[in-house]
């Protein structure tokens, strides 16, 4: 008994032919019933459905896929889906896909060698109908070839001159609004923590900051621009914050391009005995869950992550079904400035 190799198939498999026999019709009729063809008499369809029910028949999806040349699967690539920002978008993708009867195949791109090739191959081998790229910073040339041969949409980040749909927020506008908010609070010594990556969002936020400062004629100090690492890690934020808080004069406000970075600044300020927002104003970006876990709750820019995920799916399927208006349409969803507790007017505002 123990020597017998177990078979992989657990239950007995019933196919379309058995259903046809049971219902006393041909396989074609069963197939038509399955696909809700109007060309089948209601009574017949009913008989077929009963047979399906009796036999517990479930259509073999790979077989359908082979025949119809599609997979009903979409690929979602993210650098790291432990990151709450990405995981919220993924949730949106999953929810919308679920509604549309699609499945979502996820892949962490970080830490996998040759990930690009493998992903491309998944599309080419018909394992997925298309892909949603979350913040993947791949070589432009490669991406262009990729986009040419497959249906993809870029979410959060996008490469500007790539003819490929995308969904994101207006990072430039959001940043200008946030920095103007700080200025209106009375801040002039506003520093910034960016990140050591080439994301379009990173570049746009930098530019938004610079333009907002220029508009008010405020000088921008180069040593008040520090970089966290490419993944916005807490540790790298801490280091950047420490450097920043060591300058003289010290900034009265620090604009961070990610919430986690803002939290690291608050942490660094705590260590130095600086109160937030009393002695230092700190703002974040994204509005992920942990912005309201401890006080001071973070003043930040909220991105509609869930909706961004949903919209990506719609855009992708539009492309698949060739009902897009333009092959490279860019979608910008509304952001929202969340005024909470980590930003306030500077002390001694009059002396600034």
């Amino acid at each position: 008994m123990d020597y017998i190799l177990r078979i992989r198939e657990v239950g007995p498999v019933v196919n379309i032919e058995q259903v046809a026999r049971q219902a006393g019709v041909s396989v074609a009729t069963v197939s038509r019933t399955l696909n809700n063809s109007s060309a089948v008499r209601p009574v017949t369809a009913q008989r077929v459905r009963e047979a399906i029910e009796e036999l517990g028949y479930v259509p073999n999806q790979p077989a359908r896929n082979l025949r119809r040349n599609e997979s009903q699967v979409i690929l979602a690539l993210a650098p790291n889906f432990s990151n709450p920002y990405y995981s919220r978008i993924l949730t949106g993708i999953g929810d919308r896909a679920w509604e549309l009867e699609y499945s979502v195949l996820v892949c962490n791109t970080l830490g996998h060698a040759n990930s690009e090739r493998r992903f491309l191959k998944m599309l080419e081998s018909h394992q997925a109908d298309g892909a949603i790229l979350l913040g993947c910073h791949w070589d432009y040339g490669w991406l262009a070839r990729f986009a040419e041969r497959s249906h993809i949409v870029q979410c959060c980040e996008y490469v500007p001159d790539l003819a490929c749909p995308s969904v994101s927020i207006d990072n430039y506008g959001a940043t200008r609004e946030m920095v103007a908010y700080l200025q209106n609070l009375g801040h002039r010594r506003i520093a910034m923590i960016g990140a050591d990556n080439q994301y379009i969002s990173t570049r746009l936020r930098r530019q938004g900051y610079l333009d907002a400062m220029a508009e008010r004629g405020i000088e921008v100090r180069e040593d008040w621009y520090r970089l966290a690492d490419a993944e916005y890690s807490f540790a790298s934020g801490l280091a950047a914050a420490q450097t920043l808080l060591g300058t003289d004069p010290r900034p009265t406000a620090i604009f961070c391009i990610s919430d986690i970075l803002a939290l690291s600044v608050i942490s660094a300020a705590q260590e130095l005995g600086l109160s937030v927002p009393g002695e230092l104003t700190v703002t974040g970006f994204d509005d992920v869950d942990y912005t309201t876990i401890v006080h001071p709750y973070l003043t930040t820019v909220a991105q509609p992550c869930h909706e961004m995920g949903r919209r990506s799916v719609d855009l992708l399927l539009d492309g698949l079904q060739a009902r897009e208006d333009s092959p490279d349409r860019r979608t910008f969803l509304p952001y929202r400035l969340m005024e909470r507790e980590s930003a306030a007017a500077p002390q001694n505002a009059e002396t600034l």
Copy 2:
């Protein structure tokens, strides 16, 4: 031009037959080469590989799947993968699957009506070879039928008398260790915040707490056991904490079955002006990322999430390939007590 419906297929599709023609061999030989059959002469194989390269041929996966009756896909079901605990496990699942050339289909089970049926159907329709269930609390009868017909493994949680592999930590032992740790610190007034769900982990942690208290002969007060909601939400933790901190006498330590709950307790303590760990010791469970973001860093039980995910995949594939020793083997991975900053000896320990 605009009136012409675009076709779905982006590039030209090359199949095995064209490769065969190009290489001057039969499709069988190409197939054998593809599958690394030893029965093909190296020179021939080389010719085939060149043809593949020239034509840019990629095997059609649904066709292989149809023929081999497998999908190379595993399903991962989680209540909510925005939860960092689950997302870390999913990362482990994804990494291991990647190594084994499997793909992972993810599904958020929360908030989807009829999710059970749909998932079962995905297995039955051959869209996935098996499934990993993360903390799904489904009806036992249904789950039993499910497990009978499909390959599944339970991760984190498991239903005790279900003949199905599982991977988790020893929740009972970990809890006893943690409570003993608090007792050794000098605490006797130890409260607990559990959750309003039927997870095995919830029950085992409750029992571990009770037994640890009984062993030292410490009376357990019923009103020192409060419940957060089923998903361990911050808000529900806050409410539980407020009730707990309003009792007289007040507990000197609160054992929480989740980190987020512990953070809510710290938050509640802050509001009341109680210092942690000075006036109140708080401990968590899981050791998710935000335990070390703000001080006090959380003393908690670390679960090997990533490894749990990896192991789940191995267990599942063991089952698929019928090389399991026993069909219902349970795996327990080592946990670790993380002594950080939120637990300390109680003030006035001598008077307790």
